[in-house]
């Protein structure tokens, strides 16, 4: 009896990305070969302009690659239409951004609710409970009626994490999530991401800081659009005061 063929969660083959301005081509990523398995915590690390954010946007279905292959659970992304991509963004991936990107003049509750408004299968009756659990998980239950501009940077990023986990996606992408935070708040956020990883989510973290990247179990170094290193994080950092995620 043959074992079924193993299909990784994310796989790229010779993936390239160029930006075009009129006829001028600016290549950003070159021949990226990459496999990310379910449940991994991967940091993509590199200096500014190295292409790490672009790679994350492609892997998160926010942007298109120009050459090569990108397979999500074996399915080539190039064959997906806009609605399918939107559905994947609604159900299987989510994002934590450096600039938080919370809706202004909107409460914590409504910010966390936002992805559920576009989720095709979670019924409206379940929304409130899910939002409350997500807010509780990041320790902001008492602030769920606060407006987003009444929160500190660390709290805003925790709201963004609650928003990312409310749909229980398979992959959470975090783009410089500690970039706008002081070190204490940054530690909190990293602890939250590690807790999400322990709960079974695949985490893909983009950062230019070695110390932040060391919270991951695997570090991909990227330089001038090419992956230069793919390392196990042997001295992995563990942030305390994480969040409570039910497995």
């Amino acid at each position: 009896m043959s074992t079924p063929k193993h299909i990784p969660l994310i796989e790229t083959k010779k993936l390239c990305k160029s930006y075009f301005n009129d006829d001028l081509e600016t290549p950003v990523l070159f021949d990226i070969d990459l496999v990310i398995e379910r449940g991994e915590f991967v940091a993509i690390m590199g200096p500014s302009g190295s292409g790490k954010s672009t790679l994350m946007h492609i892997l998160g279905f926010l942007d298109h690659h120009t050459k090569g292959q990108f397979l999500f659970q074996g399915e080539p992304a190039t064959k997906m239409d806009e609605d399918t991509l939107a559905k994947i963004r609604a159900t299987r991936v989510s994002f934590v951004f450096q600039a938080f990107n919370l809706l202004p003049r909107t409460t914590v509750f409504q910010n966390v609710l936002l992805p559920l408004l576009y989720h095709p299968t979670i019924p409206a009756a379940e929304r409130e409970g899910r939002v409350q659990r997500a807010i509780e998980a990041v320790g902001l239950s008492e602030r769920s009626t606060y407006l987003s501009n009444q929160l500190s940077g660390g709290q805003k990023q925790r709201v963004a994490i609650a928003r990312a986990l409310v749909t229980q996606p398979e992959v959470i992408f975090a783009d410089e999530p500690t970039g706008n935070l002081d070190s204490a708040s940054g530690t909190h956020v990293m602890a939250a991401l590690q807790a999400l990883h322990r709960a079974g989510h695949t985490i893909i973290l983009v950062t230019h800081e070695q110390s932040t990247a060391e919270h991951a179990e695997r570090i991909l170094k990227i330089y001038d659009g090419k992956i230069t290193d793919d390392l196990r994080s042997f001295k992995r950092r563990h942030a305390k005061d994480g969040i409570t995620i039910e497995k």
Binding site: L62, E82, D83, K87, R89, A90, F95, N101, L103, P104
Partner: protein, 409 residues
């Protein structure tokens, strides 16, 4: 859909002042549509009221070619063109009944110390028939009064009130131009006719009026048409032309005539056309206001899309499809125009009510009219404006690239 409506309402209410200013054009446009169609309906009621008492088959023949609006008949060149013999001949036509020549008598009416300024009409008993008036008290004058040129009067209800207050006017003697008349009847109130108060008239026998004024011509001949009105008008015209030796021009025009024929139906048609023309004119202006308002909406929606570019990027990043964003912004613009429309309807109806209350005191039959059709049409037009002018900004929002939108500064 509920989520979309909530999101759209939040988008509109978050900038209340701006939303309200944006809605102004729509509010004015819709308010004007509702107000003008309601005023149009109310005026229609007034016009119909002016004429319906008479009935559409009442016909009046005036001397000269300028019509009753031509001013004082004594100053017109053909003021004496209608003779009593014309009236007698017209009475012989099969197609008319109740032919009554009219002579106006000048002077005030006085009873004791009370004085009134009525329109004094000398005419035959047929006048009551073709003017559709009845006696509320006493009787109308008849042939026997005509034969003996009796000094009797039938007075309008307002004159009765002016001169006699709460007393019964019957058999009282009133004085008109130094001559005493006995009141034999009071007319039922009829309100205004052709914008003149018909209850402020006094009717005396035709023979008495001639005796007083020594007149040989009529100020007007009134009659009732039987059967097809156009045929009757043609009959009357050809008879009078024949009697007056008038040769009409080749095209059959009326410029050679020394008389003018008006029917209540014609008057109704003219007034109706004027009223419709005015309504259409104002509605057109309201339409322009809606277009201007719509451009304002489009402008502000484009500003809103630019302001909320990052929000649009975020919504796409968390799974919003192109059509979700399109609908969100489209609903927002329709929301703006629809709310503007509702406010406009409220203001239009409010102004209409105030106007109706004020004008209703002076014009009988002017009542507060609400046209549900006009309201529905105005709201539909407002919503359509929202769609027409919201589609471009909404498409612009929906077509944004999520990454570019998220990184927008």
């Amino acid at each position: 859909m509920r989520d979309l409506l909530q999101t759209a309402s939040k988008g509109v209410t978050v900038n209340r002042g701006r939303s309200l200013l944006t809605m102004l054009g729509i509010i004015i446009g819709v308010g004007a549509v509702v107000l003008m169609t309601s005023v149009g309906r109310s005026m229609e009621g007034v016009i119909l009221g002016q004429i319906s008492v008479l009935g559409p088959d009442t016909v009046a023949v005036f001397p000269g070619n300028q019509g009753p609006e031509g001013g004082n008949s004594a100053l017109r060149p053909d003021f004496d063109s209608l003779t009593f013999a014309d009236a007698d001949t017209l009475a012989q036509l099969d197609t008319v009944t109740d032919v009554a020549p009219v002579v106006f008598v000048s002077g005030n009416a006085r009873y004791g110390t009370e004085e009134s300024d009525p329109r004094i009409v000398g005419s035959l008993p047929g006048y009551y028939e073709n003017q559709t008036v009845e006696a509320a008290l006493g009787r109308l004058h008849d042939e026997s009064d005509e034969r003996t040129a009796r000094s009797v009067v039938v007075i309008g209800s307002d004159i009765a009130e002016d001169l006699f207050l709460n007393q019964s006017p019957l058999d009282k003697r009133i004085e008109i131009a130094n001559k005493k008349y006995t009141v034999i009847g009071v007319l039922k109130p009829v309100g205004t006719q052709f914008f003149q108060n018909a209850d402020e008239r006094i009717i005396i026998p035709f023979s008495t009026a001639i005796a007083v004024t020594h007149r040989t011509y009529a100020d007007m001949i009134v009659l009732k048409a039987q059967g097809d009105l156009d045929l009757v008008l043609a009959d009357v015209t050809s008879l009078l032309r024949q009697r007056h030796g008038i040769i009409p021009p080749m095209d059959g025009g009326t410029e050679n005539d020394d008389f003018l024929i008006r029917s209540a139906a014609q008057a109704q048609e003219i007034l109706g056309t004027v009223s419709l023309g005015l309504t259409l004119f104002i509605t057109m202006i309201a339409g322009i206001s809606l277009i201007v308002g719509g451009i304002g909406i489009m402008n502000i929606m484009l500003v809103s899309v630019t302001e909320r570019t990052r929000e649009i990027g975020l919504r796409k990043a968390v799974g919003a499809r192109r059509r979700d964003i399109l609908l969100q912004f489209l609903i927002e613009s329709v929301f703006l125009t629809f709310i503007g429309g509702v406010i406009g309807v409220g203001i239009g109806l409010g102004l209409d009510y105030v106007l109706a209350t004020a004008v209703g005191k002076y014009l009988d039959n002017y009542t507060f009219e609400v046209s549900i059709g006009a309201i529905v049409l105005a709201l539909a037009m407002a919503a359509a404006t929202g769609i027409a002018f919201g589609i471009y900004p909404a498409r612009k929002a929906a077509d944004l690239n999520p990454i570019e939108a998220l990184q927008y500064e």
